[in-house]
């Protein structure tokens, strides 16, 4: 009798131990959970573009005002509107403006402003750099496990710009007005001859 009790207690311990150490889960559910844990820059960029970007673009300053302040009062311009990540002399800004000039098959569109001091070019073929990510100031580097992930956001945003905004220019006709909100990255102490604008929002007015 004692032997049966011993065996029963031992069996119970084994069952409890096994129950707590082994569990079953559907493979598709498991995979879904794992993919949630994996960093996906495309998802993050799309979420930002669809849900957050428009609110942030409201803070863009007029390109003419930007141009004059860049020369006359760069300290005020950077303190009021500039965004910088880390230790750098460059700042990113959100600017708004419009242009009528369009050269088919070109890589950029010139943006002329009355009494402008610098030459501005709206980028419409190759979008590089972190200007879009940093000017919008939505992503915090400390939220990313490593800087590669942080930079992958820029890559995805730059793709979205070409897919969703620059593509609006495909059916452009002569005389159309291109209104834009874009990102500019610049060192106010070292202003280049040409300033590139990365478009974040484009509207074509006919």
């Amino acid at each position: 009798m004692k032997k049966y009790i011993k065996i029963s207690v031992f069996a119970l311990i084994v069952i409890v131990a096994l129950y707590n150490s082994v569990y079953f889960e559907k493979l598709d559910e498991r995979k879904a959970k794992e993919s949630m844990k994996t960093f996906d820059p495309k998802d993050k960029a799309h979420y930002f573009w669809d849900n957050e970007l428009d609110k942030l673009l409201a803070s863009a300053i007029d390109l003419k005002l930007f141009d004059s302040q860049l020369v006359d009062n760069p300290e005020n311009l950077t303190s009021q509107h500039g965004k910088a990540v880390g230790i750098t002399s460059s700042y990113c800004f959100l600017v708004s403006g419009q242009t009528k000039q369009f050269l088919p098959d070109s890589e950029e569109i010139p943006v002329e402003i009355t009494d402008g001091r610098s030459e501005y070019k709206l980028q419409i073929k190759y979008i590089f750099s972190n200007a879009a990510r940093d000017a919008t100031d939505y992503f915090n580097i400390d939220d990313f496990e490593n800087t590669m992930d942080f930079n992958a956001i820029s890559t995805e945003l730059n793709k979205l710009i070409l897919q969703r905004e620059v593509s609006k220019l495909d059916s452009l006709a002569d005389g159309d007005v291109i209104k834009f909100i874009g990102a500019v990255e610049i060192d106010p102490k070292n202003i280049p001859d040409q300033i590139a604008i990365v478009p974040l929002k484009i509207e074509v007015a006919r």
């Binding site: 990540v85 230790i87 750098t88 590089f128 580097i141 496990e145 800087t147 930079n151 820029s154």
Partner: protein
């Protein structure tokens, strides 16, 4: 007589013990900072380590530099010694983004704050702060210049750095984020040169034998750029193959000036090292509010603007 000798002996022992005690006490009062560098076999890291040491000494710390010789187990040994020796902070240049996390965790557990310099670790809650070059953006600039110099067409090879280091991939990805948009630019080979001049020279020699029509080589650091340049020169192809580097080392800045190398990305090791030492000092003095990752901008150095730069920084 005997008791007199005994009393003199006791007094002598007391004086000696007092002296030893006071010495050990004064040693305890000196605060120590450790500077752990991935390798001192590269002048760039020597500048990083020496600048960190100099700034820490200026701030009143006794400072020792440890060379990990690009060997993660050597790095772990250094951390074990540092933890056992009562250091107050570690200014750290890791050997491996993932492998070095355990060492930083061990230091944190022992109450020693770690400040990463130049190279990051794959964790954002272990080190107090990580001061890093913005490698990606720097290589976007280099990529744009590369495309311009090659007129958007040609064959090129890439020499990568250490595969376990995030800087290697940030540089490569930044560069490719630009050049991959140009279908007439073809990468005919990509291989690691392990950030090492001699290794890069060997790899480049093999690449030159395997591919007759190389127009350019993009190197993940300046030591490799110099190695690649030596191989190109030995093959009699100087002037035919453009060499691009990354770092801002003295020999490459000179080579750009002489037209031997096309461009480099100027990093600022002195800025990173000084910032790390100053953060450590602030931490030791009670501050706890630090941003985890602080990228430091990289600037493009070419023949057109090389006059504005010296080795490892801007001309004064």
């Amino acid at each position: 007589m005997k008791s007199k000798k005994l009393i003199l002996c006791i007094i002598g022992l007391l004086i000696i013990s007092q002296f030893i005690f006071s010495c050990s006490k004064s040693n305890n009062n000196v605060k120590k900072i450790a500077v752990v560098i991935s390798t001192l076999n590269n002048p760039w890291f020597v500048v990083l380590g020496e600048t960190a040491k100099k700034r820490a000494v200026e701030l009143g710390y006794e400072t020792v530099i440890f060379d990990s010789q690009n060997n993660p187990s050597k790095e772990t040994e250094h951390f074990d010694n540092i933890i056992a020796s009562g250091y107050k902070a570690i200014l750290f240049n890791p050997t491996d983004a993932k492998g070095s996390v355990a060492n930083v965790k061990a230091a944190k557990k022992a109450g020693i704050p770690v400040f990463c310099m130049d190279r990051e670790i794959d964790a954002n809650d272990v080190a107090v702060a990580q001061i890093l070059s913005d490698n990606y953006s720097g290589c976007v600039l280099l990529g744009q210049y590369f495309v311009k110099k090659l007129n958007g067409k040609g064959n090129y090879v890439e020499l990568l750095g250490l595969v376990g280091d995030n800087n290697t991939w940030n540089r490569s990805k930044g560069f490719h984020s630009v050049v991959d948009n140009y279908p007439d630019l073809k990468m005919v080979a990509q291989q690691t040169g392990e950030f090492d001049r001699n290794k890069a020279m060997e790899v480049m020699e093999s690449m030159l034998q395997a591919h007759q029509n190389i127009d350019a080589v993009f190197c993940g650091n300046d030591a490799m750029a110099m190695g690649a340049y030596q191989a190109v020169r030995a093959a009699g192809k100087e002037g035919e193959i453009m060499v691009f580097g990354f770092d801002g080392a003295a020999d490459v800045v000179d080579a750009i000036r002489e037209g031997k190398i096309e461009a480099t990305g100027m990093q600022f090791p002195k800025t990173m090292a000084k910032t790390a030492a100053e953060y450590a000092d602030k931490y030791i003095n009670g501050e706890r509010n630090f941003q985890q990752k602080i990228p430091v901008a990289v600037e493009l150095v070419t023949k057109e603007n090389v006059g504005n730069y010296v080795a490892f920084g801007k001309a004064e």
